[in-house]
Amino acid sequence: MSQNKILKIEKELLDEFELFGDDWEAKYNYIIELGKTLPAMPNQYKTDDYLIKGCQSRVWLKADKENNLLHFMADSDALIPKGIIALLLKLVNHQSADEILNYDFGIINKIGLQQHLSPTRANGLVSMINSIKQYAKAQ
């Protein structure tokens, strides 16, 4: 059951966030640290072609499809968006297009950061998710 793969990762992440309780500083620290673990994105890809529109900071996302699996790379010039995209990539990286398109990206609400990371235009969360889905849809 392939769909379970993303949900399984989601469950693991939720268990980690559970430990933080209401401590938003701990959650943010986790997200910021997660961003620092993202493999470096070569500068040649940090162009307008890969820029996600609709964020106050710059976020670049690139995906390659191989055997119907999507391999992403991403970067941002701000730490929190970089952490958020890293969190999303933990779920969707190296997964199949079908699995990604079936996933509802409910993680942000579930980790209790919705009031801090509400899908406003400024933080670009919606744009990031849309961009991931676009890559999954593209042939």
Binding site: Y28, N29, I32, Q56, S57, A78, I80, H116
Partner: protein, 406 residues
């Protein structure tokens, strides 16, 4: 807490109801005093009717209140005559309306407009959009070492083709006060009219259009304790013959035939359609509120005290911050900075979690951001209901924020 600040603070229900929140985004919009909230309610309970055309008593009441507001605004900026006050929906609308008129009646291909690189997009786009179509050229004055518009550079841009200078009184991003009086004097020596964008000065600096001798001046109500949706275009009477907009409609006329129209005088011919009546009346009541509390200069003095303290506390952190002003710069209670090597978005997001509302980003001044070679800033803007204690809490939160991002 300072007694005078306490007295003002108590009059703002939003502030009273959110004691744990710190609102430092006053340059974007101010909170509203109880007097303005009651004014809006009172209007709908006791007056509501359409203005200028009715013969019934409600329409007459509404019209009287609306025209009384025009007089109040005229007095507030010391205009010679209430007909020099044109109500709009805000600064952006005011500049567009003026541009609409001047491109209709005044500019010719080859003319030049001088602006500054620190203008808000609302004082760039209305000119740029039309200039490109009409063959009019825009020129931009740069900033001096105090982050003010460089008056000498501005003067050097003026030629016999210059037909308008449009300049902001106070930079919304940097808070610096520009030498508009000197610019106006120079412009008039060359017979060039001047538009002053007073959106950011109106709540801090006493505005006297006759003393400034400006030809045009624009501002928004919502940045001076009034409701959103009302603004002003002040236009000196001698320019009224140029004020024929391309866009027009109901209320702006004396007689309409199928193929030609006799227009009303200024201001009515520029106020086509039903205006935001309760906001216009609310603007007058915001002015009453300001006057009752000692006038704009009293607000300025309270804010100066807060600003000086904020500056001192921020400049203590100079090693960790890039601050986009100097201690010598004339300014209002607005300051922009970045935490060194950190994105303003991160700083603003974390400060928000500590309960502090600041603004981050380019503040609708992208040419200025490009000049400073930055993506954006964190902007703190204070009003007279903010306190020293809030500044202390902000500095504490800023320390924690910096630590989290390191």
């Amino acid at each position: 807490m300072n007694e005078n600040i306490q007295k003002i603070r108590e009059q703002f229900p939003f502030i009273v109801q959110h004691p744990q929140s710190i609102y430092f985004d006053n340059a974007a919009t101010t909170q509203k005093p109880i007097e303005v909230l009651q004014s809006i309610q009172n209007y709908y309970k006791n007056i509501n009717a359409n203005i200028h055309r009715g013969v019934h008593k409600w329409s007459i009441l509404a019209t009287e209140a609306y025209e009384a507001a025009r007089k109040t605004v005229a007095q507030f900026i010391n205009a010679q005559d209430p007909t020099e006050i044109i109500f709009t929906s805000g600064t952006t609308h005011s500049v567009n309306l003026l541009a609409d008129c001047l491109f209709n009646t005044y500019f010719q291909s080859g003319d030049e407009i001088v602006l500054s690189i620190a203008e808000h997009h609302s004082n760039i786009l209305p000119w740029q959009n039309r200039a490109n179509k009409f063959g009019v050229h825009l020129k931009y004055a740069t900033l001096n070492h105090l982050y003010q518009v460089d008056v000498n550079h501005l003067k050097s841009l003026v030629t016999e083709k210059t037909k308008l200078i449009a300049i902001t009184y106070v930079s919304n991003t940097l808070g610096t006060i520009n030498e508009v009086k000197e610019i106006i004097q120079f412009a008039h020596q060359h017979n060039i009219p001047v538009l002053v964008d007073a959106a950011q000065s109106i709540a801090h600096l006493k505005t006297d259009v006759q003393q400034l001798n400006t030809d045009f001046l624009v501002f928004s109500g919502h940045k001076m304790y009034a409701p959103t949706g009302v603004g002003v275009l002040y236009a000196q009477k001698k320019y009224h013959s140029y004020l024929y907009p391309l866009s027009s409609g109901g209320g702006a006329i004396i007689d309409v035939d199928l193929h030609k129209t006799e227009f009303a005088d200024v201001p009515l011919r520029l106020e086509a359609g039903t205006p935001n009546i309760e906001a216009v009346i609310g603007l007058a009541d915001a002015i009453h509120f300001i006057n009752k509390n000692g006038g704009i200069h009293q607000f300025y003095l309270l804010e100066e005290h807060l600003k000086n303290y904020l500056y001192q506390r921020l400049f203590e952190l100079q090693d960790q911050l890039d601050i986009y002003t100097t201690l010598q710069s004339p300014s209002v209670s607005v300051i922009s900075f970045n935490v060194k090597n950190q994105h303003p978005f991160d700083v603003g997001t974390l400060l928000n979690n500590y309960g502090i509302a600041v603004r981050t980003g380019h503040h609708c001044t992208q040419p200025l951001m490009k000049h400073l070679k930055i993506q954006g800033t964190v902007r703190v803007s204070l009003a007279a209901y903010n306190t020293i204690e809030e500044i202390d809490r902000f500095i504490q939160a800023l320390h924690k924020t910096i630590k989290m991002l390191l």
